[in-house]
C-alpha cells in the first residue's frame, strides 16, 4: 500500500477508491474492539455495550482522509516534479538569487525586530515573548559556534548559561556590581568553564563527547542545587538588580533621578520591558556580528575544517587542541552573556531554569535551523518558542504539537530549515586580486 502512495504515474480514480477502501477495512478491523465495543458499569457489574455509529463514523473518516491524503501527496509530488524541472533549467542563476533572498530576509527580520516594541508598546505579552525568543536566538548563535561550526556535539550548553547567570546574580547581590560591570566578568567565567569542559574531552568525538557534555551540564546543576551557601540551593538567588539605563534606574519617580524623570517622561513599567528587549536585541546582534566575522577569519575556517575532517586539519598544520578549546571557550562565553541577561531580566534565578530540557531546546534550535546557519537559528527559535506559546490553548497536547512540528521539519528539511552554507571566500583571479 505504501508503495502505491508514492506511485510516480497518475493513478485512476478506481485505484484511489480501492486504496481508501483497504484503509477503511483496516480501520474497521482495528476499530471493532477499540471503538465498536466498550464496557459499561451497570449496577456494579461490567457489561459490554456497542457503539456502532461511532465506529462507522471512524471508518468513514479514515476512508475520506486516506482518499484526500493520497490525492494531496500525488498533487504535491507532481508540483514538486514540475518545479524541479523548471529549477534545473535555471539552476545556474538560482544560487546567487537564493543568497540574495536570504540576505534580504535577514534585513527584513532585523527591521521587524527593531520596530516590534514600538508597534506593540502597550502589549507586555508580545514584547516579553519576543524577548524570550531573542534569548534563545542568542543562545542558538552561541551554541552554533560549538556545534554548527566546530562540529562538537554539546548537550550541556545550559551549564554556561547557568554560570553566566549565577556569576551575575552573586556579584550583584553580594558585591553590588552593576549589569555592565558584571557582563565581561561573567563572560570570562563562562569561557573558563568552557575550557574546563573542553580540556578533558579533547580526544572525544560525536556520541562520546555528547555524553560527557551532558554529564557536565548535570554536574553544574547538581552543584547549584546542593552548594547552598554559595548558590542558595533550590531557593536560588532572589532580588537580583535589574539593569539600568546608563545609571538611570527604571523606577517610579523618587528622590534620585530615574529614567522617566531624566527624559521627562511619565513613568510606566513598560519602559523597562522595552529597554530589556532592546538590550537583548543589541546583545544578540553583537553576537551575530562577532560570529559571522569570526567565520571569515582563519580561526572560523579552522573550526569548520575541524568539523569536516580532524586528521586532514592536523596534517595542514592546525593545532587541533587550540581550535577546539577556542570554540568551546567562545561558545561558552556567548552562553554566559545570555545568562547574565537572563538573570537581570528575571530578577530571580534557581537551578530549575537550567535543566537538560533547556540544553535540548537550544540544540534543537541549532539543528533544526540548519547547522551553522545564522538566519536558520532565528527561524528555529521562532518556531520552537512561539509554538508552545501558541499551543497554550491545546493544554496538555502542546508538547505533542511541538514534537510533531520537529518531526515534520526533519522530514521536509532533513538538513535544517536553512541548510545552505555560504562560502566565506569568493574567487577573484590573481590579476584582479592584486
Amino acid at each position: 500500500m505504501s508503495a502505491l502512495v508514492f506511485a510516480q504515474q497518475p493513478v485512476s480514480f478506481a485505484e484511489r477508491l480501492r486504496d481508501a477502501a483497504a484503509t477503511a477495512f483496516i480501520a474497521l478491523l482495528l476499530g471493532v474492539p477499540m471503538i465498536g465495543l466498550t464496557t459499561v458499569d451497570q449496577g456494579g457489574a461490567l457489561r459490554i455495550a456497542t457503539r456502532w455509529p461511532a465506529l462507522f463514523a471512524f471508518v468513514g473518516v479514515c476512508f475520506a482522509g486516506r482518499l484526500l491524503l493520497r490525492w494531496g501527496i500525488d498533487y504535491w509530488r507532481a508540483q514538486r516534479q514540475s518545479a524541479a524541472r523548471a529549477a534545473s533549467a535555471a539552476s545556474a542563476e538560482q544560487q546567487p538569487a537564493t543568497s540574495l533572498l536570504l540576505r534580504r530576509a535577514g534585513w527584513l527580520a532585523l527591521l521587524v525586530a527593531l520596530v516590534l516594541p514600538i508597534v506593540f508598546a502597550d502589549n507586555r505579552y508580545v514584547v516579553d515573548t519576543a524577548t524570550t525568543v531573542l534569548i534563545y536566538v542568542m543562545l542558538g548563535w552561541g551554541l552554533n559556534v560549538v556545534v554548527g561550526l566546530a562540529g562538537l556535539l554539546d548537550l550541556g550548553y545550559v551549564a554556561f548559561y547557568a554560570v553566566g547567570a549565577y556569576t551575575y546574580g552573586l556579584l550583584a547581590t553580594q558585591f553590588g556590581w552593576g549589569f555592565w560591570q558584571a557582563l565581561p566578568v561573567a563572560g570570562a567565567m563562562a569561557a573558563t568553564f568552557g575550557i574546563v569542559l573542553g580540556w578533558p574531552t579533547l580526544r572525544l568525538r560525536g556520541d562520546y563527547l555528547a555524553i560527557v557534555t551532558l554529564g557536565f551540564g548535570e554536574i553544574i546543576r547538581v552543584i547549584l542545587v546542593n552548594w547552598t551557601e554559595m548558590s542558595g540551593g533550590p531557593n536560588g538567588i532572589t532580588s537580583i538588580p535589574r539593569p539600568s539605563f546608563f545609571g538611570l534606574p527604571f523606577k517610579p519617580p523618587g528622590d534620585e533621578p530615574t529614567f522617566a524623570s531624566f527624559f521627562g517622561l511619565e513613568y510606566s513599567p513598560h519602559q523597562r520591558i522595552i529597554f530589556l528587549y532592546y538590550l537583548i536585541l543589541a546583545l544578540a546582534l553583537l553576537t551575530n556580528l562577532f560570529v559571522s566575522r569570526l567565520r571569515k577569519l582563519p580561526i572560523g575556517r579552522a573550526w569548520e575544517a575541524m568539523r569536516e575532517d580532524e586528521i586532514a586539519c592536523k596534517a595542514m598544520g592546525i593545532n587541533a587542541r587550540n581550535v577546539k578549546l577556542s570554540a568551546f571557550a567562545l561558545g561558552a562565553m556567548l552562553g554566559g552573556f545570555a545568562g547574565v541577561f537572563f538573570a537581570a531580566r528575571q530578577g530571580f534565578i534557581s537551578p530549575e531554569s537550567f535543566t537538560f530540557n533547556e540544553s535540548a531546546i537550544i540544540l534543537a534550535i541549532v539543528v533544526l535551523g540548519g547547522m551553522g546557519s545564522q538566519l536558520g537559528v532565528v527561524l528555529a527559535s521562532l518556531v520552537l518558542v512561539l509554538l508552545p506559546e501558541l499551543g497554550r490553548d491545546f493544554a496538555e497536547y502542546r508538547m505533542l504539537l511541538f514534537g510533531a512540528a520537529m518531526i515534520l521539519i526533519m522530514i521536509w528539511k532533513p538538513g535544517g530549515i536553512l541548510a545552505r552554507r555560504e562560502p566565506t571566500l569568493a574567487y577573484r583571479s590573481a590579476e584582479a586580486g592584486r
Binding site: P298, R301, A302, E304, A305, E308, D309, I311, A312, C313, K314, A315, M316, G317, I318, N319, A320, R421, P423, T424, L425, A426, Y427, S429, A430, G433, R434
Partner: protein, 238 residues
C-alpha cells in the same frame, strides 16, 4: 639527506604494525613504497606524521629529530601529507579547501600559489566555488594534492593517490606527480598499491611486507625483479 627513518617501530594498541623500518629520502627524489594490503604502508605514512607516534626508532627530517613532535608541528616543518582517501573538507568550497592548505604559508603567496594550482589542475579553477564534496573522486584527489601543495612543502607525502580512481584519472595523477618532481623539483614520498605505476615513476623504491622493508632499489631494478613481478605486478595491471 632530507628524511631518514631508522629502526622505526609502530603500534596500534596491541598490534605491532611496523618492525624496525629503515628508509631514506634525498632532496629532489621520488621515493615509492609498495606492498600488499595491510603491509603497513599507510601506518608508515601516519607514523611519519606522528599519528601514531613511533614506539621505537628515530625519524629525522632536515637534520631535526621529529619523532616526538605533534602532527601539526611536523606539518610546520614543511612535510605535507595528502592523506589516504583524500580527506578533503566536503562541505567547504574548493577554494576554501585550498585556503585551508595554505594556513601555514605566507599570505602574500596565496594568489600566486592559487594560480599555480589552477594551471596544474584546470578543473579546480572551473569548480572553485563548488562544494568539494560534489566533485568526482578523481577531482577530489586533485584537490587533495593541490591542497597539500598550497603550503609550499619541502616534502610531499602521497598516500595511495590512485585509490578507487578510474584509469584515466590514475594516469593523470601520475603524470602530475612526475611533473611536480621534474619541473618543480618537489621531493615526493609515495605510497601505492598500484605497483606498476608507482615503480615507473620512482627514482628509488622500497617494498614493505608485514611491517618490514624486504627489498629496495631503483624503480627500474624492482620492475625487473622476478619476485616483485610475481607478487605485485602480475595481478592484471597493464
Amino acid at each position: 639527506m632530507m628524511l631518514r627513518l631508522s629502526g622505526v617501530h609502530a603500534h596500534y594498541g596491541a598490534i605491532h604494525a611496523l618492525h624496525g623500518v629503515d628508509l631514506e629520502v634525498q632532496v629532489g627524489e621520488i621515493v615509492t613504497l609498495i606492498g600488499a594490503n595491510g603491509a603497513g604502508k599507510s601506518t608508515l605514512m601516519m607514523t611519519l606524521c606522528g599519528q601514531p607516534r613511533a614506539s621505537a626508532g628515530r625519524i629525522v627530517f632536515d637534520g631535526e629529530d621529529i619523532t616526538r613532535l605533534a602532527t601539526h608541528d611536523i606539518a610546520r616543518r614543511g612535510i605535507s601529507l595528502v592523506p589516504e582517501g583524500r580527506r578533503i573538507f566536503p562541505r567547504m568550497s574548493v577554494l576554501e579547501n585550498l585556503q585551508m592548505g595554505a594556513v601555514l604559508a605566507d599570505k602574500a603567496n596565496f594568489a600566486v600559489d592559487l594560480e599555480r594550482m589552477y594551471t596544474l589542475f584546470p578543473i579546480l579553477h572551473e569548480r572553485c566555488e563548488q562544494r568539494a564534496g560534489t566533485l568526482s573522486g578523481g577531482e577530489q584527489q586533485m584537490l587533495a594534492i593541490a591542497r597539500g601543495l598550497m603550503s609550499r612543502p619541502q616534502l610531499l607525502l602521497l598516500d595511495e593517490p590512485s585509490l578507487g580512481l578510474a584509469p584515466l584519472y590514475i594516469k593523470k595523477i601520475f603524470q602530475t606527480i612526475r611533473e611536480l618532481n621534474r619541473e618543480h623539483g618537489m621531493t615526493i614520498l609515495l605510497v601505492e598499491q598500484n605497483a606498476h605505476h608507482a615503480l615507473r615513476v620512482a627514482d628509488r623504491s622500497y617494498v614493505l611486507q608485514h611491517g618490514r622493508i624486504v627489498l629496495s632499489g631503483s624503480g627500474r631494478e624492482l620492475l625487473a625483479n622476478p619476485e616483485v613481478h610475481a607478487a605485485y605486478l602480475s595481478g592484471g595491471h597493464a
